[in-house]
Subunit: 344 residues, 2 copies
DNA sequence: CTGAAAGCGCTTACAG
DNA sequence: CTGAAAGCGCTTACAG
């Protein structure tokens, strides 16, 4: 391993001068800077991050909290996997590396201890465990944070505009002529409100058309996977056999719901129209006609990285950043009107 | 931040003694060790990894190379995502963190420079870019490596026993009474031989039954995704309409292949039997009856972490470790015999 | 514009 | 069994 002192000997300058030249700070003549930079290149010099981190207190490490209890898919989660791919690219450009925070590290540290241990400079909270007490402390732990799903006090959240998506779903179905529309949700939570927000927007939109939104058309499934969608749809349909459409908060649930509907002999969309959410590749091949919403994972990742980098630089963060979801029109919605092709 | 010196003052011992007590090395009386450990706990002390790394030359960081050009799914790759979930858990227990190696880091470092920069202690090569020249140098770069797919000179590979899986596929189809069996492959490569090895085993097994394995029943698709499977199946079937079964090297390809077969009016398995590979969740919902092979991602990850940790500890690694794949019997294979339920 | 000194927080021989 | 000294590779004031 070649160090700054080797370079000092070779060039005749002192170690601090080498440091300044290589980091581009301090005042140096262009000439000495050049000679030093060239010498470093020729010698194949690579700085030692541990030494850098120790003296500057900057590790250039971003901690990531990714637990995914709700879907149990880890890196393979339909939203989070892709989000992480992009986020990683963004921060690497800025010279940061990702570091997964874990509660199981070294036989059980807290996330924050893990951060201190590694001098983590910022935290990306992709998806924490439900009701994790430690989350509440993150906003005041002194390390800049950004969240891409959960609401955490004092932490900026970059997240899909779920209410707007809910509105669009309601509008699509309403304008297609549906009168009785079901809503298949997932557990409503205050901090992780994707399902709740989608319902709020959906309900508000229907009400804006002067329709009362009867609670009996709402069924909250017990989880986010397809088995729960099957059960939820069964309950909803047995209670409200008059529905002609249903908006489901995620594609995995929608897949289960469709499975039930198909099993009882219903045709989609002729008997019942379905709109899902996520544009989940796991479901797409099986249900290629399912209308859905695509969350803009690249955009969320990019904005999250910007917010976090700003936070590290000391710039105050906004409280929340919303990213629109895109409605993907395919074939699972029947229109009772034949007026025109709608564009959303 | 509280340091070892704070602890020294509080307890009356010297810094080196604190260090020994906390790390459990050196000789110390149980009494002083206890007082120190308790004081550390009470003070909420967390060691500083940068300082540790600088003085010990051990960063406790494992570099990961994950590019996934072939499937373009990044973290969402059917094999690699799950493998990484498990690998991460294993090495965290040993006090290591994952660090993704990148060629785009800091405006373009090599993997090895990235490693030196972070003092990475070991490298997990999950899936590199095809024909990456740097791969050839990894085996002799001085950093212990383990690969979970690609063959790299001087590096231990922990990988599915593809030949054996190919044999099983051939046996299943042969014993079911199939005579003309197609093989749908993906690009055959020397270093990343999953497709090639599956073919070798498949061919050897058929030959062991005294059947000649005509090359015309082999079709190599252009890539690993479903569009390529569609095209490949089309070519294969138009050339060999006499086949009654086909073994496909991955589920995504199998999905494309089945799409073609269905389109031309064939029934699966009545007209043509299909076996895939990967037990890919992305395909499973769409093709729930597809017989396939499940690679043991947890086992591969666990063995890879063991090999790597051993390598870091200076224990020489084996050249290759094979992990059996499990044949998943479902409904896409027709049997012309009605003898008995086979168990594999 | 350049360098000598001190420090970041920890560990490793080496004395005692 | 415990501690004084030196060092890991880098950077930050501070002189000159």
């Amino acid at each position: 391993m070649i160090t700054i002192y080797d370079l000092a000997k070779q060039t005749g300058f002192s170690a601090p001068t080498i440091s300044k030249a290589l980091n581009g700070n301090g005042k140096l003549s262009d000439e000495t800077r050049q000679t030093i930079v060239e010498a470093a290149k020729k010698a194949g010099y690579t700085a030692n991050m541990a030494a850098k981190a120790l003296s500057t207190k900057h590790s250039r490490l971003i901690g990531v909290i990714l637990e995914d209890v709700s879907m149990q898919r880890g890196f393979e989660h339909p939203l989070f996997g892709g989000l992480l791919n992009k986020f990683r690219k963004e921060i690497e450009l800025a010279g940061y590396d990702l570091l997964f925070l874990s509660k199981h590290f070294n036989e059980g540290m807290s996330y924050i201890d893990h951060c201190r241990y590694r001098d983590v400079e910022g935290i990306l909270i992709v998806n924490p465990i439900d009701d994790d007490e430690e989350m509440k402390t993150l906003g005041t732990c002194g390390i800049p944070c950004v969240s891409t799903n959960e609401f955490i006090p004092g932490v900026c959240t970059v997240v899909t505009d779920n209410e707007n998506a809910g509105q669009i779903a309601a509008r699509v179905l309403y304008e297609a002529g549906h009168e009785k529309i079901g809503f298949l949700g997932a557990p409503f939570r205050e901090n992780s409100p994707a399902a709740l927000e989608r319902y709020k927007g959906f309900k508000a939109e229907l009400e804006s058309y002067g329709k009362e939104c009867d609670e009996k058309y709402l069924e909250v499934c017990s989880a986010w996977w397809d088995g729960a969608g099957y059960e939820g749809m069964k309950k909803l349909y047995e209670r409200c056999p008059d529905i002609t459409a249903v908006f489901v908060v995620c594609d995995a649930l929608a897949f289960g719901a469709m499975k039930y509907l198909l099993e009882i002999g219903k045709s989609i969309p002729n008997d019942i129209s379905v709109i899902g959410f996520d544009d989940d590749t796991t479901v797409l091949k099986a249900a290629p006609t399912l209308c859905t919403f695509r969350q803009d994972r690249d955009k969320i990742a990019q904005l999250a990285s910007e917010v976090l980098l700003q936070g590290i630089a000391g710039v105050p963060n906004p409280e929340i950043v919303r990213v629109p979801a895109e409605y993907i029109q395919r074939g699972s919605v029947r229109s009772f009107r034949r007026i025109h092709q709608m564009a959303y």
